[in-house]
Each structure stands twice: as C-alpha cells, then as structure tokens.
Amino acid sequence: MTNATFAAPAIALENVTVTYNRHPAVHHVSGALTRGSLTAIAGPNGAGKSTLLRAIMGELKPAEGQIDRAIPSRDYGYLPQAADINRRFPVSVIDTVVTGAWKRAGAFGGIGKAERQKASEALVAVGLEGFEARPIGSLSAGQFQRTLFARLLLQDASVIILDEPFTAIDSRTTQDLIDIVLRWHGEGRTVVAVLHDHEQVRAHFPQTLLIAREMIGWGPTEEVMTAQNLRRAQALAERWDDNAPVCEVSA
C-alpha cells in the first residue's frame, strides 16, 4: 500500500456536532479516518464516543457539520455497544454468523455451500469450532462476542466500527479478538474502535482520537495520549446546564 492511498480519507468529519435535545454530545469535531488506518477512540463516560460512531454509521444526523464517506456506509461492519440482540431468540451460532453474508446474498439471495464454509472458517478463526449448532442463548458473554466477530469476518467490510468490543470479556478472549483486529488492519481495512483500556490503545492502535465531547486530540497515539490531554479529558463536566446559552462557535 503506497503512502498516497494511505492518506486518502475513508471517512472525513467536518466540524461535526451531534446533539440530544439541542445539548451537544459531540461538539465541533473535525478530522479524518484515513483508509487502512487503525484508530482507537478514547475518552471518559459520556464523552460522545458511541454517539460519534452512530453518526458515522448514519444512525444519527449531525446537527451541524458534515460527514463525508468516501466508502458508503453499507460497506461498514458495525458492532454496537451492548448490541440490541434478543439472546433468547431460537437461532443457532452458525445461522447468526451466516447473516454476515447479507451484503452478497441480500434479503432473498441464496446462501450456498461456499458461504456456509466461510462461516465455519470464521468460527474456527474466533476459536468457536464445534459451536455451529448451539443456540445463541446458551453462549457465555465472551463466546457471544466471538460469534459477533465471526459475523464481522464474514461481512468482509472495508470499514469496521467497534464500540467497546472488549467490555466484560476475559483477557484470553480479548487477546484473540485483538489479533483479529490486527489482522483486519494488516488486510488494509479501516478499523475504528472505542476502548477504555489505555494500555490496549497504546499497545495496538497507531492512531487515537481522544474526545470529551470536544475533541481533545486526534493523531498518532503517543502524541495524543499524553498525561496532560488525559487530564483535560477527565475534567469533562458530565452534567448539562439546562440553561446553557446557544453555542457561538462559528461553523
């Protein structure tokens, strides 16, 4: 991969503000996720990390500013935080993984042997060999997260968006899943993940966006994750002021 294509943005944020009831959750954030980059999003609770991801996915519309997607959002693989999945639904692990073939099969297309084979391989890759027929309701939290990663593998997306993928997951599973993330990075996919563990961020993620509603820093991890920046991020006032004046920062 040449430097020129590396610098091309997959997703560019231009002065993006996302609000809930007019209160900004993400406030004047600008920057770009370059193609093939591996970016961590860090920041305290309530910093707008998930909100930013949902805006990138197109689930939330920015109140101001613009998100330019050089890669259209249907080619994103998205793992939401505490995914809104009905675990009691009677569906097997392999069927859950196979839904990742949606981009190729759609709502009506056939899912042949090849896709099933790929799904089985994805299960092997996440360490869930032999779990094909198990109902998803019988899995542990870690096994279920592995299942969702297998589905992401099958999705074969160019942009992969992970919202706190390692929360409540043991260290071995976390390590396995980080290996998959690094593999995606090696394959030239654009990966962005919300993470709370600063050690993980420093160890594996070349790029970091540190956010506390406002953008604190966005760039190479060692330049962003400084003690001073982290203190600034921690100082975020979580409470809204109900009588906050209208923001005067010009677009």
């Binding site: 939401p80 995914a83 809104d84 999945i85 009905n86 639904f89 569906v91 999705q155």
Partner: protein, 290 residues
C-alpha cells in the same frame, strides 16, 4: 358409536362442518406462524389489541351490508385494523408514547366504538356473533377470502423469512446493513391484520388471536429451533381446530370457544409435560461430565 361416527361422519354429513374444518386449516397454516413471529417479537399482546381494533370496521361493514355478511365485515375489519396499526405507529413516532401504549389506547377506543355501532342496529345475538365468531356460518365467499389470505401469508413469509428473522433477534444489524427494518415491520403488521381478519370470521373479535398465540406458546415449550416451532404451531392449531369442531358437534357446544378451549387444554398439558415445561424442573437428572 364407531370411530367413523365419532371422528369423520360430522364432516361427511354436513357442509358447514366441512367449511369450518377448511377454515381451521387456513387459520392453522396462516395465523399460527404469524402468531409465532408475534411472540418472537414480544408483541403477543399487541396482536390481541389489534384484533379488537378490527371490530369497528367490521361493525360498519355489517351496518352497510345489513346482515352478517362476512365479506363486508372482512373488508371493513381490514381497513380498521390497518388504520389502527398505522395510527399507533405514527403516534409512537411523533410523541413520547411507546407503541404498546398507543396500541392500548386505540384498541380500547375501537372496541367501544365497534360495540356501539353494532348495538345501534343489531340485536344482542349479532353482537355475540361479532364478539365470538360464527365459524359454522362461514360461507363459500368467506372461505375464499380466508384461503386467499392464507396463501398470501405463506408466500410473504417465505419471501420475507430472512429479514424478518434477523429483525426479530438483531434489528440493529438489519439497520446497519441497510435491510429496511421499518418496511419489514410494516409488511409484517399487514400480515398480522390480514390474518386477524381471517380469524375474526371464525372466532370473533375477542378470540381471534386464540389460534395465533396459544399454538405459539405451545411450540415454544416443545421446540428449540424456529423451523420446528413453526411446524408445531401449525400442527397444534389445526389439531385444536379439528378437536374443537368434533367436541362441539357431539356435545352441542359453541364451536369457537370449544376450539380455543381445546388449544388451551394442549397448552396446559404442554406447560406440565413439555421439555421446557414445569415438570422438567422437578425431574432431577444427574449432571453431565462435560
């Protein structure tokens, strides 16, 4: 009395029994799978609410047609049910009310208005018919309507199966891959209303969901996978219909309620003996090594 007299003769001797049996088959094939999905989407009670919403439309159809014309009532019910489903969806999107809350309001309004309209012109007998159905009075036109609804439902379920299933257990994923969840939901609600109209003809507005929800509950007690559940729900719905007709014929009981009571008996039995039922909790089996 021979087994033939007991089990088959009523249908050989009387056309209305045959038509009732075919109606039960239609309901089992169409309404039971729909009930299964309703239950999977945690919308069991919403189906109940919608079934009452059919009433004012059916009542207006009844007023216009002048007698208990099942076709006129069916069309009226279809319009009313769809309007309420649509209105409830709009209200939940435009206001703070959740969809279940707006459904509850609309079905109460519909039920009250429907009973008022029927009582304007009809007798108490008519009201009873509307509330509890007239499965033995189903004529050929009504049967054709039910058959069409069942066919449409089965084709639609076959076509929409994948997005519908994904929308049931992971709506966020469907949204993320651009799977048009709201459209799937709307089409599903349309199928629910269609089947309620079919069911309304046979079982009346108060019990129309009977052959939807009871078989769905039974199936969940017996099976672990969705295809097995769908098959069991269809089978139990038809068995309930057949048993209800036979029992009501011999004991001279009201047919609709007997059908529902048959389904209820299967449900209670399943509650006790099914693999996921009560008994399984009290039968201690030694745990496995791995």
């Amino acid at each position: 009395m021979s087994a033939y007299d007991l089990l088959i003769a009523p249908f050989m001797d009387y056309g209305f029994m045959r038509r009732a049996l075919v109606a039960c088959l239609c309901l089992a094939l169409g309404a039971a799978p729909i009930g299964m999905f309703l239950s999977m989407r945690r919308m069991s009670l919403m189906g109940d609410a919608l079934s009452h919403a059919v009433l004012p439309g059916a009542a207006i159809g009844y007023l216009i047609a002048g007698s208990l014309s099942l076709t006129a009532m069916g069309i009226g019910g279809l319009v009313a049910g769809l309007s309420v489903a649509l209105l409830a969806g709009v209200v939940s999107r435009m206001t703070v009310l959740q969809e279940d809350a707006s459904f509850a309001s609309f079905y109460l309004i519909s039920l009250a208005v429907g009973v008022l309209i029927v009582s304007l012109r009809g007798s108490n007998i008519d009201l009873l018919h509307v509330l509890f159905g007239t499965i033995l009075a189903i004529d050929n036109n009504a049967l054709i309507l039910m058959g069409v609804i069942t066919s449409v439902t089965l084709v639609a379920l076959a076509v929409l199966y994948r997005p519908l299933v994904i929308d049931c257990f992971d709506p966020g994923f469907l949204r993320a891959v651009g799977g048009r969840g709201p459209l799937i939901h709307a089409l599903f609600m349309l199928m629910v209303v269609l089947n309620l109209v079919a069911s309304f003809q046979a079982l009346g507005t108060l019990m129309a969901v009977g052959l939807m929800m009871l078989p769905a509950a039974i199936a969940q007690l017996w099976a672990r996978t969705l295809p097995a559940m769908l098959a069991i729900s269809v089978a139990t719905a038809f068995i309930s219909g057949y048993a209800g007709l036979i029992i009501s014929y011999h004991l001279e009981l009201a047919s609709g309620p007997t059908i529902i009571v048959s389904a209820a008996a299967l449900y209670v039995a399943s509650l006790v003996v099914a693999p996921s039922g009560v008994m399984s909790r009290y039968i201690r089996r030694p745990h496995l090594a791995n």
